[in-house]
Amino acid sequence: MSVPGITEPTEAIAQARAGDAEAWGRLYHDYAPAIFRFCRRALPTREDAEDATMEIFMKLKDKLSQYDQTRSFSAWLYKVAANHCWDILRRRRIRQDKETDDLESVPLEHPEPSQLEKLIEERSSEEVRRALEKLGTRARMALVMRYYSDMTYDEIADALGVRRAFVGVVLLRARHELRQALGGSSALAAGGKA
């Protein structure tokens, strides 16, 4: 994943590592909007997102020397951001324990595809965004990591502290929550159980 319109800032990273304030400023200028948007999706309020963005960039300054330049900078940046946001949410103890328990029951239903298609066709992006805000923290976090910042299952597992094998389950459960928030049928929301 890369931030649209931005190529890998290899030189700027090297200069920022060497303490060049201008290079650091360029990195901030290029990546802060994307990270802010990530935080905005992952965290409950706009103020939280603003604080988190600043904290993430402060953290990045210290962590920049750890960045492996053979890998994507954006991916690494999102990983740092995801870890930070998840830490914030965890510290606030708003993570729901039942979500962990849910992982043990794997949804193996086959929902009605036409109902799902209909729901997707009828809902606008705006409605999806509003629905996302109603989701549980882990569900929302998982969807943002996967569908906004294109993080791998390994990275999501690492950030959320779950086994990689359960990342799919987390994502599927998050979709079910989302469908429910979008007003989909209970069958769609429950993965076809009803």
Partner: protein, 575 residues
């Protein structure tokens, strides 16, 4: 909670309908199934319309999610837009601090070393504007210095211009500033080399016995090297004299610069004499000033010095006449002749005989009061100040200056780290090898100055020798900082960035300074520890330099990016 099992069903199908379950479909869409399972799903969906539709719906759901999250382009809040500036501003305090420390360092350097020397030289009648121009650039050593002055001035201007451009590098293409500085440097260097050298007119004579015979006239400068050096004729320029036994009986219209065991000045010198001699006897006339580092100096009754005498000497007998001031650091000074100006003497003993005549005041700092004959003609009584040797550490200002110098060194280290962070880190890592840098440091610490002096003696190599000595001194100044950085790493662990490195260096340097200040009071231990620190630090810098300059053998062949772990084959990647 029981240990969770792998949630992905091997069957992957809903047992009642034989359709693929949603989990399997999602993992297929997300390309998370292994190759075999992916092929099974592909085969199934060819025959199953419902599963095919579900796959398509899940893909569309993924795209809808991505679009919804990316679509709303929420502008960056003002608070965040200003954060970058604030973060930069938060570091701006450092620059006034840096300037303050720099000013303190320069002030310390000036008041401790430059100003006292300048004052004393001015009192000694040199009357110039600064030490460098008097001692070096005015042609005492090498006429080519004038070209060097021009070169250095131009180089300084070009460098300043480069720094100015570098400050605005955001507005110009990257690398232009450096290119300009380099281009300027090359242009100035080229112009300097192309210019004719003023030193080319000098004549050089070598041999067991070298000199200028009676009746002979040398039009320009002359360099004389020999066991015995004798000038009986006339030299219209300067004389540079290197020998064992030397005498100047003729007429030198310029200055005399001499290194010798014994030198007798019987003739006439219209300029200055500056020399490092074991025994110097002056019987003739020196129109201007005498600056001498000697063991024994005799200014006989026939001798006349038109200007001043400045000398560091063990024993000085002044029987002749000196037109202006006498500044002397000696063990024993005996004055029997005439001094037109003041006498400033520092030493063990001062004797003023009955034949002495001094027109100015006499200041004497010594162990015992001056022995002054009642018949001596003095403008005023001798002002005596008893010399008291008090340990430096007993004086408060010693610690004040210690703190100032520590701050100045930290500033110096900060500047070096910011200018060359990678090299600074390499030097610190090299220092952590301990044995290798210390071994190399011994070689550099003792070997480089010797090599530089040898280069200077060959005259042609003076610029090279001076540059080498300058670089050596820079390494000496940096050595303690490198050691400080290692100590800082011991305490706080390795730094991850430049400012972390500077912080550790500062902390470690302060600790080293405190420890060294205590050890320094024990003379031999202080010296040994000092040499140890210098050799270690210099060795580390040398090792880092060597590694930078040594050729690196890299394996050939194209780089192939490794495949990510768990590479799978699956369906179409969602847009």
């Amino acid at each position: 909670m029981s240990e969770p099992t792998d949630p992905i069903s091997k069957e992957g199908k809903n047992r009642s309908t034989q359709h693929l379950d949603e989990m399997t479909c999602l993992l297929y869409v997300e390309r998370q199934l292994d190759r075999a399972r992916g092929q099974e799903v592909s085969a199934h969906t060819e025959d199953c319309a419902s599963c095919r539709t579900l796959l398509r719906a899940l893909e569309r759901e993924s795209r809808l999610l991505t679009r919804a999250m990316l679509e709303e382009d929420e502008p960056l809040p003002t608070r965040l837009a200003e954060f970058q500036e604030r973060a930069r501003r938060s570091l701006q305090w450092i620059w006034p601090a840096v300037l303050g420390l720099a000013a303190t360092g320069v002030y310390a350097l000036y008041t401790t070393y430059v100003e006292p020397w300048q004052r004393q030289l001015e009192q000694a009648g040199f009357g110039g504007t600064n030490l460098l121009s008097l001692m070096i650039f005015n042609g005492a050593l090498w006429k080519g210095w004038q070209s060097m002055v021009t070169f250095l001035e131009v180089l300084a201007l070009v460098t300043l211009g480069g720094f100015g451009l570098a400050l605005f590098r955001r507005r110009i293409r990257r690398g232009s500033a450096l290119a300009l500085v380099l281009a300027g440097f090359c242009a100035v260097a080229g112009a300097t080399v192309a210019l004719p050298s003023a030193a080319s007119a000098s004549e050089v004579r070598r041999g067991e016995s070298a000199g200028v015979s009676e009746g002979e006239t040398i039009k320009g400068d002359i360099f004389l090297f020999g066991e015995r050096v004798r000038i009986d004729g006339t030299v219209e320029g300067d004389v540079f004299l290197f020998g064992h036994d030397a005498s100047v009986n003729g007429h030198v219209k310029g200055d005399v610069f001499a290194f010798a065991q014994v030198l007798q000045m019987n003739g006439q010198v219209d300029g200055n004499i500056r020399m490092f001699i074991n025994t110097l006897t002056i019987r003739g006339t020196v129109a201007k000033n005498v600056l001498a580092f000697v063991e024994r100096l005799e200014l006989e009754s026939a001798a006349k010095v038109g200007g001043s005498v400045t000398t560091f000497v063990q024993s000085f007998a002044l029987d002749g006449s000196v037109g202006r001031d006498v500044l002397i650091f000696s063990k024993h000074l005996t004055v029997s002749g005439k001094v037109g100006g003041e006498i400033k003497a520092k030493g063990d003993a001062l004797t003023i005989n009955s034949s002495a005549e001094v027109d100015g005041p006499i200041y004497f700092e010594g162990k015992n009061p001056a022995d002054v004959s009642a018949k001596a003609k003095l403008a005023s009584p001798v002002q005596y100040h008893k010399m008291e040797r008090k340990p430096r550490y007993m004086e408060g200002h010693y610690y004040v200056w210690r703190v100032i110098w520590t701050a100045a060194f930290i500033l110096f280290g900060m500047v070096l780290c910011l200018l060359a962070p990678k090299f600074a880190e390499e030097a610190i890592r090299s220092a952590e090898l301990y044995a290798a840098p210390i071994g190399l440091g011994v070689l550099v610490f003792f070997g480089v100055p010797i090599a530089a002096i040898i280069a200077c003696i060959t005259v042609v190599g003076i610029p090279l020798g001076v540059l080498t000595l300058g670089f050596w001194m820079l390494m000496v100044c940096s050595a303690e900082l490198v050691v400080g950085a290692v100590v800082g790493d011991w305490i706080l662990g390795r730094a991850r960035d430049t400012w972390g490195m500077i912080g550790r260096m500062s902390l470690g340097f302060v600790i080293v300074r405190i420890a060294y200040t205590a050890i320094e009071q024990v003379h031999v231990a202080g010296l040994l520890v000092g040499i140890g620190i210098w050799t270690w630090g210099m060795g580390a810098i040398s090792l880092a330099l060597y590694r930078r300059l040594a050729p690196v053998v890299t394996p050939s062949g194209p780089y192939t990016q490794p495949l990510p772990p768990g590479t799978t084959v699956g369906g179409v990647q969602p847009a």
